[in-house]
């Protein structure tokens, strides 16, 4: 507030000019501090960056072919255990497949699902939410009821039913994620559009002769982008959890494509002798989901405190 007062002071006075530039400097400094790039940003951002890089460059990083069996070396333990072999850093599963390589290629699967899933849900949800909030009337009624119905279904059970009915494939998993997760974006976009629609700048744009489409693209969507970004970041975790859960039950990414969820399931029957087969993929899932959630939480605090209930 004080900065604003000084800026509104009489012009021409050299003292005031000095004050203004000082004030601007401190505001800028404060703003930098307020963004607070502390460990709550760096830790999850680094993990996610590593995850993305590993997924993209899997072909160059992975020491082995992730789907090739080395039956003679089956169930080799990871490096910190007795009986480990140098060529299989994190050990092998019952088929003798290198777990490290499978984790690396599994990252690619998860990244594709998360990136496409979050992108599509975000776009579909935002468009429908803005449409409902801006148009009102029967459009709103239809979209709102659709949101109610989808939220009324038990999420995982319906996703599982769809996965089995439609058949397990990467495309279908992303389709299912879009069907189940667009509602979160749509609710938020609708609620905010209702507010933005009443604002003076939308009113002015309308008086200036803007068409509805222009208003939506130029004035409404940019103003709800913050919330959408927060929901999308938090959505990375839920999407990966849903995919790995489906794959764990054998209804997700079909074998032999490595997926962290199905890798966990592979180790279930040999838990007593080779616990690492289930343990390691779970750690990978948790690291990525946790990073997404931490980053989303940080973003929410910074961009949009009114969303803290999410």
């Amino acid at each position: 507030m004080k900065d604003l007062e000084t800026m509104g002071g009489p012009r021409g006075d050299s003292d005031t000019k000095m004050e203004v530039s000082d004030a601007l400097k401190t505001t800028r400094k404060k703003k930098g501090k307020r963004m607070g790039f502390g460990w709550r940003f760096y830790l999850p951002a680094l993990i996610l960056a590593a995850f993305v890089l590993v997924a993209i460059f899997a072909d160059f990083i992975a020491p082995h072919n992730p789907v090739k069996n080395h039956l003679a070396d089956s169930l080799t333990p990871p490096f910190w255990q007795e009986g480990a072999k140098a060529e299989y850093l994190l050990g092998t599963d019952q088929m003798g497949r290198d777990i490290l390589s499978r984790l690396i290629y599994g990252a690619r699967t998860s990244l594709i699902v998360a990136a496409l899933g979050v992108f599509l849900t975000g776009i579909v949800g935002t468009i429908l939410g803005v449409l409902a909030g801006y148009k009102g009337g029967w459009v709103d009624a239809v979209i709102s009821r659709a949101i109610d119905v989808i939220q009324g279904f038990p999420l995982f059970l319906v996703a599982l039913v769809l996965a089995i009915v439609l058949g397990a494939s990467l495309f279908n998993i992303i389709l299912i994620i879009t069907i189940m997760f667009w509602v979160g974006y749509a609710r938020q976009a609708r609620a905010e559009t209702l507010q933005i629609r009443e604002s003076a700048y939308v009113e002015l744009a309308r008086i200036a002769g803007c068409r509805d489409f222009t208003i939506a693209v130029r004035h409404v969507i940019p103003n709800l982008l913050n919330s959408i970004i927060v929901i999308a970041t938090l959505g990375v975790g839920s999407v990966i959890l849903l995919e790995s859960g489906l794959s764990f039950l054998g209804a997700g990414i079909p074998p032999p494509t490595p997926s962290w969820g199905s890798m966990c399931a592979d180790g279930r029957s040999i838990l007593t002798t080779a616990w690492w087969v289930s343990f390691l993929p779970g750690v990978a899932i948790m690291a990525v989901v946790l990073s997404g959630n931490l980053l989303g939480d940080w973003l929410r605090d910074k961009l949009d405190p009114k969303l803290r209930d999410l």
Binding site: V149, P154, L157, V158, A251, S278
Partner: protein
């Protein structure tokens, strides 16, 4: 008041109708039930007979009305795998699911609500930050992995608890209930915290402080009692999920509830059974939400006056 109730009831019925249409359509999407029920060698006459017997020769909208009429009477047909009425099978599995879901819900509320209040009181201090990270952690652990790791530690290594199976309210319950609770504890905790922060900044809490009330009373009586109202909404959500059972957790621990039943039904392509479970769950969701809305009106007088 009455008008609000009628609108909510209407919305609930609408959601139920749309829900059943979707479930019905979904089951039809999967292919002709005749192919599943008859051998490949069946003659066209036999197929025709079976279609007539099942009512599949009628137009699809008529089939839907038959389906919905029977469903209203609690009749979802017979399971293709068990050869018994679907409703009967669901009610057989319900106790185990209720036992697991109820225990997990009670446990998570007992843990999370006091802790959430504590986090709100210690707002922005280190205690709050640690609890926040814990809550985010709880929402990030994949439940199947947590279940397997609990089995590994407590059943395989320590041999303290069974790795799976069911016995009425005994040690079998502990590991699955812990696994289910992890997620809902995190949810309850964050919700209680934010609801508490909202109430602690209201005028009546300020007044309670100004008149010199002990902080203990301010927090637990004036604060928590009002903060619990939004928490109840989440309870409804958790309740429905508990009712439908956790598919993953029940599969990991071989828990004979609705969750495991639906997974088996899916593997066997037992569509009458899946249809029954889904319609059951949608109906339940609508009912629980309606009950919560009514409860809201009684708990929060503000709703009674503003929503007229």
């Amino acid at each position: 008041m009455t008008r609000y109730m009628i609108i909510r009831l209407g919305q609930g019925i609408l959601a139920l109708i749309v829900g059943t249409i979707l479930v019905f359509g979904l089951a039809r999407l999967t292919g002709n039930p005749l192919d599943l029920m008859l051998p490949e060698t069946a003659t066209p006459e036999q197929r025709q007979q079976m279609a007539e017997y099942l009512g599949l020769d009628k137009p699809i909208y008529q089939q839907y009305f038959v389906f919905i009429g029977n469903a209203a009477k609690g009749d979802f047909g017979r399971s293709l795998f068990f050869y018994r009425p679907v409703t009967q099978i669901i009610f057989e599995r319900l106790p185990a699911t209720l036992e697991l879901g109820g225990t997990a819900m009670l446990f998570s509320m007992l843990v999370a609500i006091p802790v959430g209040v504590y986090a709100a009181v210690k707002r922005e201090k280190w205690q709050d930050s640690i609890l926040k990270v814990f809550a985010i952690f709880g929402q990030s652990v994949p439940s199947f992995w947590l279940g397997i790791m609990l089995i590994l530690v407590f059943a395989v290594s320590l041999r303290w608890l069974p790795a799976g199976g069911y016995g009425r309210f005994d040690e079998h319950l502990i590991l699955p209930a812990l696994t289910v609770s992890t997620f809902s504890i995190a949810g309850f905790l964050r919700l209680t915290r934010s609801a508490m922060l909202d109430t602690l900044s209201t005028d009546y809490v300020r007044l309670a402080r100004i008149k010199g009330l002990k902080e203990r009373y301010v927090i637990w009586k004036h604060g928590l009692r009002n903060a619990l109202i939004p928490v109840i909404t989440f309870t409804g959500f958790v309740l429905v999920n508990a009712f439908m059972g956790s598919v993953i957790v029940e599969a990991v621990f071989a828990w004979p509830g609705i969750g495991q039943l639906s997974y088996q039904a899916l593997l066997w392509r037992d569509f009458p059974l899946i249809q029954g479970i889904l319609v059951f769950s949608v109906a339940l969701f609508v009912l629980v939400n309606l009950a919560i809305d009514i409860l809201y009106v009684y708990l929060d007088p503000r709703v009674r006056f503003t929503r007229d």
